[in-house]
Amino acid sequence: MVKINGEMKDFAGKNIAQMLSAMEYNDSRVAVEVNLEIVPKAEYDARILKDDDSVEVVRFVGGG
């Protein structure tokens, strides 16, 4: 299980792009941190989530 924004989810073995898509995030409107390190967008496909990973997804909304 992987902790995503504080909730345990079954995404171990999936990559970040798959996790974002399953959770209905738009990958151009987020910042993703895994175990306290930012993951560059270019690595969303390559980075595979493991059991006990802790993920923070920050979602940006428009307006300024």
């Binding site: 151009s28 409107r29 560059p40 967008k41 923070e56 920050v58 909304v61 307006g63 300024g64």
Partner: protein
Amino acid sequence: METGDNRIPTREEMYKALEDRMGSELQQKFLKASVAICGLGGLGSNIAISLARAGVGHLHLIDFDAVDITNLNRQQYNADQIGMEKTKALSENLKKIAPYCEVKANHIKLTRENIPDNLSDVDIICEAFDQAEQKAMLVNTVIEVFPEKYILSGSGMAGMQSANSIKTRRAIGKLYICGDEVTDVDDGIGLVAPRVMTCASHMAHMALRIIAGECEP
């Protein structure tokens, strides 16, 4: 009606007035600080004015847009500035408020490629763009390129919901998010001055707290 004394106070008089209000330690910290403001709309123009009033010594303003009539409902420009580059118009307005604040203005569009060259000279970066994709691009690039810098992002201040839902939180490392993180201008709910200014104030205040050495939201 009485007419004001039109003399601009000297640098020493301005610094003394700030020191009397805040103490010399804070005044010195603010004076030495440099903050970049990326995007000069409702968030950025209000952040710039708050920081200049507080006595922040160096502001780096970045925007590629010009003042439009639809900006006047929430952005710190005047009706006679429509059509002017925002960098130029805001520099002009800041000069009247805080004549000794050192303002560097760049009329450019920030991209992944030019961010390293344009943001190396500041301690704190305020992300004050309009579009969610641009916000994400700036925040991601800054965290990757400048992990030592603080970045404050405004996300969620559209519409007429309560101003009390706007908050500051520390999200990832040195990234702070100010806003409700939900209300999206793309949903056609508009932007009104007080709610945008509430978010801008959260960002400006967090910047001042960081400069003062208080890193908790």
